[in-house]
């Protein structure tokens, strides 16, 4: 078992960078949405509105951190940190560049899947503890959605794992030096992208918090920094799914040598983040039953077929 942990300094640097980038995504998203909706977006605080994040943070930290008297205090306080912790833990196995990363683990893909499945508790406990009908509805939807889409997420990854022959994300990147997996595994890529959006409940699939139907879904009762953790957790999720897409399907840090590897990684991740925001700007929210039907009746057979064909291809090529 290869199990290498980076130095404390690099772990701290990665943690800091990831959180700062996730917070900056709030600004990036608002600016990009503005761009695509022919508006400007926040541009008042600092140059280009870059310090909007600071203003938001000051606001959210100084807000009253209120626990409703009818809520289950234990679960209510426990729920928001779970999503932050779980997603930040997932970043530990992401290889950012050669030598840059927290853990080089042989079970990286499985670890990410495990953490993604634990992320559902944050939403479920938050909604259940709020003791509020809207929150309960939101967390019911979230639970069903996240558990379902986890399945397709896992199965769509298996093609990549089978082609590489390893669960190690670093080896998956290195195996793509001849060609990115997005070409042979295009179906898996699309399924993973859709499942990733559903898993981080981002906008086309933000059914758990659909404002027009159920107020704010599972975080209806949350305020202050507890809400902030849900909020930053969502952006951390976007960052995680984007970097996973880069690592698994788009060659990670690999790229022409005129830029350093970490820059290639950042550029590709930024591309996918922008794509996520474009999805939010363009596509309306489906109905809940449409989402579930689409998952189980379309994505599941498709991902199984993809896995089957990949396996057959590997057997045929292996000459067995």
């Amino acid at each position: 078992m290869r199990f290498e942990v980076g130095s404390a300094l690099s772990i701290g640097a990665i943690l800091f960078t990831v959180i700062i980038v996730a917070a900056m995504l709030i600004w990036v998203e608002r600016r990009l949405l503005g761009l695509w909706q022919e508006r400007l977006g926040p541009n008042r605080v600092g140059p280009f509105g870059l310090l909007q994040v600071v203003a938001d943070m000051i606001k959210i930290f100084t807000k009253e951190d209120w626990v409703p008297p009818f809520a289950d205090k234990f679960s209510f306080i426990l729920a928001p940190p779970i999503i932050m912790v779980v997603i930040l833990m997932s970043f530990s196995v992401i290889p950012f560049a050669p030598g840059v990363g927290v853990i080089d683990s042989d079970i990286g893909v499985l670890f990410v899947l495990a953490m993604a499945s634990l992320g559902a508790y944050s939403v479920m406990l938050g909604g259940l503890a709020s003791n509020n009908k809207y929150a309960l509805l939101g967390s019911l939807r979230a639970a069903a959605q996240m558990v379902s889409y986890e399945v397709f997420m896992g199965i769509s990854l298996l093609g990549v794992v089978a082609l590489t022959g390893s669960f190690n994300l670093r080896e998956i990147v290195l195996a793509q030096s001849d060609g990115w997996y997005v070409v042979p595994q295009f179906v898996g890529f699309v399924i993973f992208l859709i499942a990733g959006v559903a898993e981080s409940h981002r906008l086309p699939f933000d059914i758990p918090e659909a404002e027009q139907e159920i107020v704010a879904g599972y975080h209806t009762e949350y305020s202050g920094m507890k809400f902030g953790m849900f909020f930053v957790g969502e952006y951390l999720g976007v960052l995680l799914i984007s970097s996973l897409l880069v690592v698994l399907f788009c060659g990670g840090w690999l790229g022409p040598a005129f830029l350093p590897p970490i820059v290639w990684f950042a550029l590709k991740t930024a591309f996918f983040i922008a794509f996520f925001i474009l999805l939010r700007a363009a596509i309306p929210r489906p109905r809940y039953d449409q989402l579930m039907n689409y998952g189980w009746l379309f994505l599941l057979p498709l991902s199984l077929l993809n896995l089957l064909l990949t396996g057959a291809f590997i057997l045929w090529q292996g000459g067995m």
Partner: protein, 179 residues
């Protein structure tokens, strides 16, 4: 199956592309405090009281505006000078209630009360939202430059007897039988 692929994938991709193209369009935002917006002349903003071309107050204190006002934000009191002209003793508009509907302007028979394109009316003290006649009166005719109510109306004031107004025939002596 093909139908499903068309509905779920192709149309979504087309949507994404069309929205992406918007990135190259010009933004519609007017950066207001830095760039003043172009207001239409008929914009219903701050209310003023205008004067006629002679420089006298147009308002004759008929109270029609106060009646028309749906939120009852106009208060005025009629008084009369020794020449026979009517004018408001006080004229008060509570802009914290005003909804800028423009009904007062439509109701006004003398074009005295008019709405202007000015919309920057915020105050720090709530009492400052109540505007008196001195605040409302402007030194001009507003939107109607030549209109002068007492020059077209039949009412007798100093310097203008009955029958001396524009387009007005001299009064007929009803007790006479002469044509």
């Amino acid at each position: 199956m093909l139908r499903l692929i068309k509905d779920t994938l192709i149309s979504q991709v087309v949507t994404l592309w069309r929205v992406f193209v918007h990135a190259f369009a010009k933004t519609d935002t007017v950066e207001y405090p830095d760039v003043q917006p172009q207001m239409a002349a008929r914009w219903r903003g701050r209310i003023i009281l205008s004067r006629d071309p002679d420089g006298e107050e147009r308002c004759v204190a008929c109270n029609l505006c106060a009646v028309a006002c749906p939120v009852d934000c106009i208060a005025l009191q009629k008084t009369e000078d020794e020449e026979g002209r009517w004018y408001p003793e006080f004229f008060r508009i509570n802009f914290s209630r005003c909804i800028m509907c423009g009904f007062c302007e439509e109701a006004c028979p003398t074009n005295a009360i008019q709405l202007t394109p000015d919309f920057e009316m915020a105050e720090y003290v709530r009492q400052d939202m109540v505007w008196e006649k001195e605040d409302l009166l402007i030194n001009g005719t507003g939107k109607y430059h030549d209109y002068n109510f007492y020059r077209v109306a039949g009412k007798k004031i100093r310097g203008k007897d009955k029958g001396e107004a524009l387009n007005e025939a001299p009064p007929v002596n009803v007790r006479s039988l002469l044509p």
